[in-house]
């Protein structure tokens, strides 16, 4: 893979920004990260279901059993 410093400067800037975004995500609180995981589930579940996988999105507001 081409190293970042040999890329077009604009693409290199985008890659750097992406890395910074990942660092920011890693620094979030655990509950905030869990909320983002649920958002990822919401995005991914419909796609996975079309492939026949049973993908359940977590219900963090579930009523007690």
């Amino acid at each position: 893979m081409e190293s970042v410093d040999r890329l077009n400067p604009e693409v290199a800037r985008l890659f750097t920004a992406k890395e910074e975004r990942r660092r920011q995500l890693a620094a979030l609180s655990f509950p905030d990260k869990v909320r983002l995981v649920v958002q990822l589930q919401q995005m991914a579940a419909p796609i996975l279901r079309t492939r026949g996988r049973d993908a359940r999105v977590w219900n963090l507001d579930a009523k007690s059993a």
């Binding site: 869990v34 983002l36 990822l40 991914a44 359940r56 963090l60 579930a62 007690s64 059993a65």
Partner: protein, 165 residues
């Protein structure tokens, strides 16, 4: 997820499990950027049984009595599918013993140390485990001396060195 963790704490308090800690992708998420997962992996030390077999039967039964039903390999607890994994080797037993005590919002819980997550990934050895090691190395601020000890104790140094080469 807080209610789910509260249920796990009750199970531990009542002796249904001797000890538990969050592992897998959600534990990795504690240390690094969020990653997609549909299960909450929970490693457990089970109380000693007469036959010495590792069986989740009593745990599942205790959950059923509380109204939580199995769905495939998981049990749905307060909206979250939880996959219980008994500690089946020395590395997992150590990982559980040394898991970090944290709070999730107001609820105390435990999460496996990042170094143990990395070692477990090396031991498991799937493609997604390599990705987990890459993520943890990049973002989790691993304690390299502690990790070296874990890898040495469990015979994982050679694989680790191949993976990071």
């Amino acid at each position: 997820m807080e209610k789910t963790l509260q249920v796990l704490n009750v199970l531990e308090r009542d002796g249904v499990v001797s000890r538990y800690a969050i592992g897998g992708a959600m534990a990795a998420t504690f240390y690094a950027e969020p990653v997609l997962t549909f299960d909450l992996d929970v490693f457990v030390i089970l109380p000693q049984t007469g036959g010495g077999l590792l069986t989740l039967g009593q745990l599942y039964e205790a959950l059923r009595r509380r109204g939580y039903v199995e769905e495939g390999e998981c049990v749905l607890i307060e909206g979250v599918p939880v996959q219980f994994l008994p500690a089946y080797n020395a590395l997992l037993e150590e990982a559980l013993a040394e898991a970090r005590e944290i709070r999730y919002e107001q609820t105390p819980t435990r999460v496996l140390r990042a170094e143990h997550l990395a070692a477990i990934a090396v031991q498991t050895g799937r493609a997604k485990d390599r990705e987990r090691v890459r993520l943890l190395r990049e973002q989790a601020a691993l304690d390299v001396d502690y990790l070296a000890g874990v890898l040495a104790r469990h015979g994982l140094e050679a694989t680790w060195n191949r993976w990071i080469a």
